[in-house]
């Protein structure tokens, strides 16, 4: 069993594909279907391209705050590829790639960061919870989703993401313990990208690894090279098996790095050295995965160029479309507070409509 062989207390970290794209642990190389491998790679390219463009748009004043995922693609796509369509994805806020893999459209994903709640109204069959800003609180949601799956004896699990910083929050503790106590089919992936805004991982806890926090809940915890899509895939595959068997949750620490800023409002140069960033750029998950696919003869440089080309166009077109969506309708901000608008809300809306009719548009100053 994977989780017995990698002990976080001994700082053993699972890696299958190293940063040169070499298999370093061939006994563990997962047997992933070709289409899946390609979907994984395409999603990573879409994620990366979207991030890069979004950062550009933001500099051009066309995008609001945006939290890029650059460098963390494997930590998201590996897990998602290991799951089944009926499984649930419970988000923190830095899982752009995971969302895309799971069926959130790029338009929706952009629309959210563009400042429109419609961006969190995913298609009906997309079992993804909206982006969750209050740190840690999503763990409890995932536990609840998993409780329902278990009670209804459904063959489904929940995967939930959290940052390294998030593990310090009380909600992390309560949710992990709740899930462990009731042996819920839940998988928690910590994206340890080494920073919580400006605060480095080492200042968030004295625990040598985040994976060892699993011991507090009596569940397995494992540290994984988060830039290795194969390792991330494998570990989630096994965690899913445990979950489905009724053995409860698993805690996975994906060791990765946030190459970009926390968000577009952040200047990482204030708190970290360029040299550190450069070290991690060498460990880029996309480069190693591409090498792996080419070595496996699943991919070619030519295909790669085409994909980049196509993706860029798709991202630009989609963003244009999003840009054209403009402000939301007035009704929209009132309509979803309750199932039915209360008399009070109707009155507030109508008064405001009267005002607008009289005075013209409100520009929020």
């Amino acid at each position: 069993m994977l989780f017995d062989n990698y002990d976080p207390l001994k700082e053993q970290m699972l890696q299958i594909l190293d940063h040169n794209g070499k298999i370093v642990n061939d006994k563990l190389e997962p047997n992933i279907k070709k289409e899946t491998l390609i979907k994984m790679y395409e999603t990573m390219i879409l994620g990366r391209t979207s991030d890069e463009k979004a950062l550009q748009f933001q500099r051009q004043g066309r995008m609001l705050t945006y939290a890029p995922n650059i460098g963390q693609e494997a930590a998201q796509v590996g897990p998602m590829a290991a799951l089944e369509p009926q499984d649930w994805l419970v988000l923190a806020f830095r899982e752009f790639n995971a969302m895309l893999y799971k069926g959130v459209t790029l338009e929706q994903a952009f629309l959210y960061w563009y400042g429109n709640e419609r961006g969190s109204k995913y298609d009906d069959d997309v079992k993804v919870l909206p982006i969750n800003v209050p740190i840690g609180s999503q763990i409890n949601h995932a536990a609840g989703v998993a409780y329902a799956s278990k009670l209804k004896k459904l063959d489904e699990v929940s995967i939930v993401f959290i940052g390294d910083g998030g593990t310090s929050h009380g909600e992390f503790h309560e949710g992990m313990n709740f899930a462990a106590t009731f042996e819920l089919p839940m998988i928690t992936v910590i994206q340890n990208n080494h920073y919580a805004i400006s605060t480095p991982r080492r200042k968030a806890t004295k625990a040598k690894t985040l994976a060892q926090k699993a011991i507090a809940y009596g569940i397995p915890g494992i540290q994984v090279d988060g830039n290795d899509p194969l390792a991330m895939y494998l570990v989630v595959k096994e965690a899913r098996e445990r979950a489905i068997k009724g053995l409860g949750p698993t805690l996975i620490e994906a060791v990765t790095y946030r190459i970009g800023p926390h968000t577009t409002s952040d200047n990482p140069k204030l708190y970290r050295e360029d040299s550190e960033v450069e070290e991690w750029i060498k460990k880029d998950p996309i480069i190693r995965f591409k090498k792996y696919l080419i070595d496996k003869k699943i991919w070619t440089e030519k295909k790669d160029e085409e994909l980049h080309e196509k993706t860029k166009k798709f991202v630009l077109d989609t963003f244009k479309h999003v840009e054209e969506s403009g402000n939301v309708e007035l009704e929209e901000i009132f309509n979803y507070t309750y199932e039915k608008m209360t008399p009070n809300l109707i009155e507030q809306m109508n008064n405001y409509k009267d005002y607008l009719a009289k005075e013209g548009e409100n520009n929020g100053e």
């Binding site: 969750n132 609180s137 949601h141 609840g144 949710g175």
Partner: protein, 325 residues
């Protein structure tokens, strides 16, 4: 039809709705095996099993947060906060998620869930066991806040809360959990959320109260037979039934609001403001509040000062009746 206390009425509402709909589940600290510290959920685990009725670790954020996830995934959780004072560790979940999932997802997800919590003073309890925290929930868009004052309403409102597609905070006036009995229909029925109850019609003054204070108002009126008061039991604090209030005030022109919550920035202030907005010209006297003082609810040896007694209500009624514009 049988005589029941509020406690029994709530228990029956839970029991019957659970029998009817297997998606309803009930949990919280000590609510399972022993049936709750007040025994509101007694018998349910025995009947519906440990998976649907269970004890949780002491972790209010997990209790509420997991209910969010359950509701997203098709269940209807009815969770208990052991005392309203202990709902605060879950306050982040309630405000940032329970109240907002529908809006956040533009209706893709909604949360049919109920958060039960015994509230209010007068039971000689330890600290944090006597709070009246209506404002903290009424002020949050997306929540409904319901408080019964009778066994009949307790059952009907609880069933309505469970059936409601929106999340409902259900505060239970623990002081009168077992204080009296009332005929309660055996079958399931709903008392509509968002509708106040006119307890007594009258023309001189409108008295608005809820929870345990409704009975105190009734007692006060026994000692002021000269006043023909209209008594409104608000029942739903949010969204507030301003129609019933305004109609009454237009008739009486005088208003007293009685609540145990502390005064400043408390629930009574909203009622006065609504009356100002919608019935200002009908007012014959300054609307007044008789409320908890702006202090922490005292421990039992100081609590008597804090608890509103019928004589105090009667005194205020007389003051307002004496007001000359």
């Amino acid at each position: 039809m049988a005589n029941k206390t509020i406690l029994q009425a709530i228990n029956e509402a839970l029991d019957q709705t659970m029998e009817n709909d297997e998606n309803i589940i009930v949990y919280g600290e000590d609510v399972g095996y022993e049936g709750g510290v007040f025994r509101t959920t007694a018998g349910l685990q025995q009947k519906y099993g440990e998976e649907r009725v269970f004890d949780t670790p002491i972790a209010e954020a997990a209790i509420v947060g997991s209910a969010v996830g359950m509701a997203v995934n098709g269940l209807k959780p009815v969770v208990e906060m052991q005392f309203s004072g202990f709902s605060l560790p879950a306050y982040n979940q309630i405000v940032t998620h329970v109240a907002r999932f529908r809006n956040r997802s533009r209706g893709k997800y909604h949360l049919p869930m109920v958060i039960r919590m015994p509230y209010g003073g007068g039971v000689k309890a330890l600290e944090h066991h006597s709070e009246s925290l209506e404002t903290l929930y009424a002020h949050i868009p997306g929540l409904k806040l319901v408080i019964p004052s009778t066994p009949y309403d307790a059952k009907g409102l609880m069933i309505a809360a469970i059936n409601d597609p929106d999340p409902v905070v259900f505060m239970e006036p623990k002081r009168i959990y077992r204080a009296f009995k009332q005929e309660v229909p055996d079958e399931m029925y709903e008392v509509p959320i968002g509708k106040a109850r006119v307890v007594k019609k009258g023309n001189d003054i409108t008295i608005i109260a809820w929870g345990a204070l409704v009975r105190e108002v009734e007692k006060a009126l026994e000692i002021t037979p000269e006043v023909d008061a209209e008594v409104i039991d608000l029942r739903t604090i949010s969204p507030i039934d301003y129609e019933t209030i305004i109609n009454s005030v237009k008739k009486t022109g005088r208003v007293l609001i009685v609540h145990e919550a502390v005064k400043s920035f408390g629930p009574g202030a909203e009622i006065i403001s609504i009356i100002n907005e919608k019935a200002f010209l009908y007012l014959e006297a300054a609307p007044r509040r008789l409320t908890g003082f702006d202090i922490t609810v005292p421990l039992p040896k100081g609590e008597p000062y804090f608890i509103i007694e019928p004589k105090q209500i009667a005194n205020e009624v007389k003051n307002i009746m004496a007001f000359k514009a």
